[in-house]
C-alpha cells in the first residue's frame, strides 16, 4: 500500500505564558491512517491536536494540509472535525439537531440532512433517540453522538481528544473496536490522542510517543512495543526490565556477566547500551540451565500469569510466567536473542 501524505508538520513549536509546550515537532500523517498521539498528561499531545484543529496557533513552524498552509485557514473552513474530550454536545439541541449542526452550517438541503443524519444514527445504533435531550443520555451514548456529529460532515481528518477517557472499562473496549471499524469503513484519517498505552496499541496504525514537547518515537504498535527507542518509551509502553549492558560487537551484548546473542547491530565495539527485556520474554529455568541466576523475591497471581520478582545482585527483574516459582529459591533465567532489545543510553 502506497501512502499519500495528508498532513505534514514541520518544526512546530508552541510557547504559552513562557512555558514551551511543543519543542519542535516533525510529523507526517498519511491518508486513511489511524495515528495515535500517546504520552503522559502535559506532554503536549492535546496542544498539537488543537493546532491541527485550528483552536490554537503555533508559535513557529508549519502545518501543511494537502499542500496548503493550514494555519492560515480558520477552523470553520477546515476539512477537519473534532471529537472533544468532554464531547461538547450542544445542550440546547436534541440528538438529531446536534448531529445535523455541521450540515446546517453548510446549508445542505434539509432532505439530504435528514437522510445523512438518520444514516449516522443507524450506524451508532441510536435511531430511536433522535428527539431525545442530550442530558438524558448516558456517557457512552453521548460519546457516540459526538462521533456521529463529526463524521456526518465526511471530514478528511477526524481528531479525537481522549474521547474514551470518561467511559468505564468494558464500554471503552467496545468503543475501541467500534472506532477502528468506523475508521476502516469510512476511510478517514484518525488522529487520536490518549495517555492509555493499551488503547494506543489496540487501535493504531501508527503510534507517536510524545514526552515533554518532543516526539520520542514514531512507529507501528509492534515496533513501539518490541523496539522501544529509549528508556521513556520502554517504560511508558508496557512493563519492562531495563538493564545496563555493553555491546561487545554486532549481534553480541553482555549483561549480568554473560554474553548474549542478539539481533541488534551498528553500535561501536564495547559501547555502553541499555537492554530492554519484556517480562513475558524472560523464562525461568533450573539454575544450572540459566544464563544467569537470581533469588525469587515474590510471586503474585495475576489471573492469566504469575508476576514473579527475581533479585539478581540487588537488581530487580519482573518475570511474567504461567508457571509459579517458590519464593526464596534460586532460579536460572534465559531469554531468546530476538527478545533482547538494545537501545542507546539516556535519550
Amino acid at each position: 500500500m502506497t501512502k499519500t501524505p495528508l498532513i505534514e508538520i514541520k518544526n512546530l513549536t508552541k510557547e504559552y505564558d513562557g512555558d514551551i509546550i511543543l519543542k519542535g515537532i516533525d510529523l507526517t500523517i498519511h491518508e486513511d491512517e489511524f495515528v495515535t498521539l500517546l504520552g503522559p498528561s502535559g506532554c503536549g499531545k492535546t496542544t498539537l491536536l488543537r493546532i491541527i484543529g485550528g483552536f490554537d496557533t503555533p508559535t513557529s513552524g508549519e502545518v501543511v494540509f494537502k499542500g496548503k498552509d493550514l494555519i492560515q485557514i480558520p477552523s470553520y473552513k477546515r476539512e477537519i472535525n473534532t471529537v472533544f474530550q468532554k464531547y461538547a454536545l450542544f445542550p440546547h439541541l436534541n440528538v438529531f439537531d446536534n448531529i445535523a449542526f455541521g450540515l446546517r452550517m453548510k446549508k445542505v438541503p434539509e432532505s439530504e440532512i435528514t437522510e445523512r443524519v438518520n444514516r449516522m444514527l443507524k450506524m451508532i445504533k441510536l435511531t430511536d433517540f433522535a428527539n431525545r435531550r442530550i442530558d438524558s443520555l448516558s456517557g457512552g451514548q453521548q460519546q457516540r453522538i459526538a462521533i456521529a456529529r463529526a463524521l456526518v460532515n465526511r471530514p478528511k481528518v477526524l481528531l479525537l481528544d481522549e474521547p474514551l477517557g470518561a467511559l468505564d472499562l468494558k464500554l471503552r473496549q467496545d468503543m475501541q473496536y467500534e472506532l477502528k471499524e468506523i475508521q476502516r469503513e469510512m476511510g478517514i484519517t484518525f488522529i487520536f490522542v490518549t495517555h492509555d498505552q493499551e488503547e494506543a496499541l489496540t487501535m493504531s496504525d501508527t503510534i507517536v510517543v510524545l514526552n515533554d514537547g518532543l516526539i520520542q518515537q514514531i512507529g507501528t504498535p509492534v515496533d513501539i512495543y518490541n523496539e522501544p527507542r529509549n528508556r521513556f518509551v520502554a517504560n511508558f509502553i508496557g512493563e519492562s526490565n531495563i538493564v545496563d549492558a555493553v555491546m561487545i560487537e554486532d549481534y553480541k551484548v553482555k549483561f549480568e556477566g554473560h554474553v548474549f546473542e542478539c539481533v541488534d547491530r551498528g553500535y561501536n565495539p564495547n559501547e555502553a547500551v541499555e537492554v530492554v527485556i519484556r517480562p513475558e520474554d524472560l523464562q525461568i529455568v533450573d539454575k544450572e540451565k540459566g544464563a544467569f541466576t537470581g533469588v525469587v523475591d515474590s510471586v503474585i497471581f495475576k489471573g492469566v500469569h504469575y508476576e514473579i520478582i527475581v533479585m539478581v545482585e540487588g537488581r530487580e527483574y519482573i518475570v511474567h510466567s504461567t508457571q509459579s516459582a517458590e519464593v526464596g529459591s534460586v532460579v536460572g533465567m534465559i531469554v531468546a536473542p530476538a527478545d533482547i532489545h538494545v537501545m542507546e543510553v539516556g535519550i
Binding site: 484543529g53 485550528g54 483552536f55 480558520p74 477552523s75 470553520y76 473552513k77 477537519i80 472535525n81 473534532t82 472533544f84 474530550q85 468532554k86 461538547a88 454536545l89 450542544f90 445542550p91 440546547h92 449542526f101 455541521g102 452550517m105 453548510k106 456529529r149 463529526a150 460532515n153
Partner: protein, 281 residues
C-alpha cells in the same frame, strides 16, 4: 423533605404571610370596596373601581407605562448584552472588579442619582453648558420620554448585566470550539450557540428590568416632570393626594395582572423553564 428541615422554613412562612400575602389580600379587598360610601367598615362590595379604570385616560396611562418600560428594557438589553460579553471575556480577577464598578452606583440612593440627572439634563445643566462651550444649540431633553428612558436605563442596567454575565460565563468554551469546528462562523456561533444558551439569562434580565420600569413613579416624576402620568404616578396619586385607596388598590391589581401576563409571555421564549435561577418561579 425531612421534618427538621421543614421546620427551618417556618420563620419564612410567617414572614411572607405578614409582609406579602396579608397585605396583598387587603389590597384586593380594598379594590372591591365602594368608595362613594365614605365608610369602608360598611364593606359594600363593588367592581366599580375596576370599571372606572376602563376609561380612555387610564388605559392610555397604562399603555404609556408599558410602552416606556418596553423601550427602557430594550435599551438595557442592547447596551447590557455586549457589555456583559466584554466583561465575561476578561481575566477572572478583572471581571470581579468590573462587576463591582457596575454595582457600586447602586449603593447610592436612587433618588439622589436621579436628581443628578436633572442637573445634567436641565436647561442650564451640564450637558447644555458643554454644548454652549462648543457653540452648539442647546437641547431640551428634560421632561421628555427620552429623559425618562435615560433615567431608567441608568438605574436598571445592572439588573440586566448581572444575570446575562452569569449566563455567558457559564457557557462552556468547548461548545464554541465545537461550533467553529463544525463550520460555524462568528455570527453563526453567536446566533446558534451562544444566544440560545444565554437566553435564560436574558429573560431573567428582561424581567428584572421590566418589572421596576413599568411600576416606578420616582423617575417619571423627576425626569418627566410629572406632566405625563405613568401608572406608577397614578397609583401614588390615589394613595397620597386623592386619598382614593380603593381605586389605587384596583389599579395596583390591574398592574399586577399585566406584569404577570408579561412575565408569562416572556417565559414562553424559554422552552426549558429554567430562567437563570435568579427568580424563584
Amino acid at each position: 423533605m425531612h421534618e427538621s428541615t421543614k421546620r427551618l422554613s417556618y420563620p419564612y412562612i410567617v414572614w411572607i404571610s405578614i409582609i406579602i400575602i396579608i397585605p396583598m389580600l387587603l389590597i384586593f379587598l380594598y379594590s372591591l370596596i365602594d368608595p362613594s360610601d365614605g365608610n369602608p367598615m360598611a364593606f359594600r362590595l363593588t367592581i366599580d373601581n375596576y370599571v372606572k379604570f376602563f376609561s380612555p385616560i387610564y388605559i392610555s396611562t397604562l399603555a404609556r407605562s408599558l410602552w416606556i418600560a418596553v423601550w427602557s428594557t430594550l435599551a438595557c438589553l442592547l447596551l447590557g448584552y455586549p457589555l456583559a460579553w466584554v466583561i465575561a471575556q476578561c481575566h477572572p480577577k478583572k471581571q470581579s472588579s468590573l462587576l463591582l464598578l457596575f454595582i457600586m452606583p447602586m449603593w447610592i440612593n436612587m433618588l439622589l442619582r436621579t436628581y443628578a440627572w436633572i442637573s445634567i439634563l436641565g436647561k442650564n445643566g451640564i450637558l447644555n453648558n458643554i454644548l454652549e462651550f462648543f457653540h452648539l444649540a442647546p437641547v431640551d431633553i428634560m421632561y421628555t420620554d427620552f429623559a425618562i428612558i435615560l433615567g431608567m436605563v441608568y438605574n436598571f442596567l445592572p439588573f440586566m448585566v448581572l444575570p446575562i454575565h452569569t449566563a455567558i460565563a457559564k457557557v462552556d468554551k468547548n461548545l464554541i470550539d465545537a461550533a467553529r469546528d463544525l463550520g460555524a462562523n462568528n455570527r453563526q456561533v453567536f446566533s446558534k450557540v451562544v444566544f440560545p444558551l444565554t437566553l435564560p439569562g436574558i429573560i431573567t434580565g428582561v424581567i428584572m428590568v421590566f418589572l421596576p420600569a413599568v411600576s416606578t413613579f420616582v423617575i417619571p416624576q423627576l425626569l418627566g416632570g410629572g406632566q405625563f402620568m405613568m401608572i406608577g404616578n397614578l397609583i401614588e396619586k390615589q394613595f397620597l393626594l386623592t386619598g382614593n385607596w380603593y381605586f389605587g388598590s384596583a389599579l395596583s391589581m390591574i398592574l399586577m395582572i399585566f406584569i404577570l401576563l408579561s412575565i408569562w409571555l416572556m417565559k414562553r421564549f424559554d422552552s426549558d423553564g429554567q430562567a437563570g435561577g435568579a427568580l424563584p418561579w
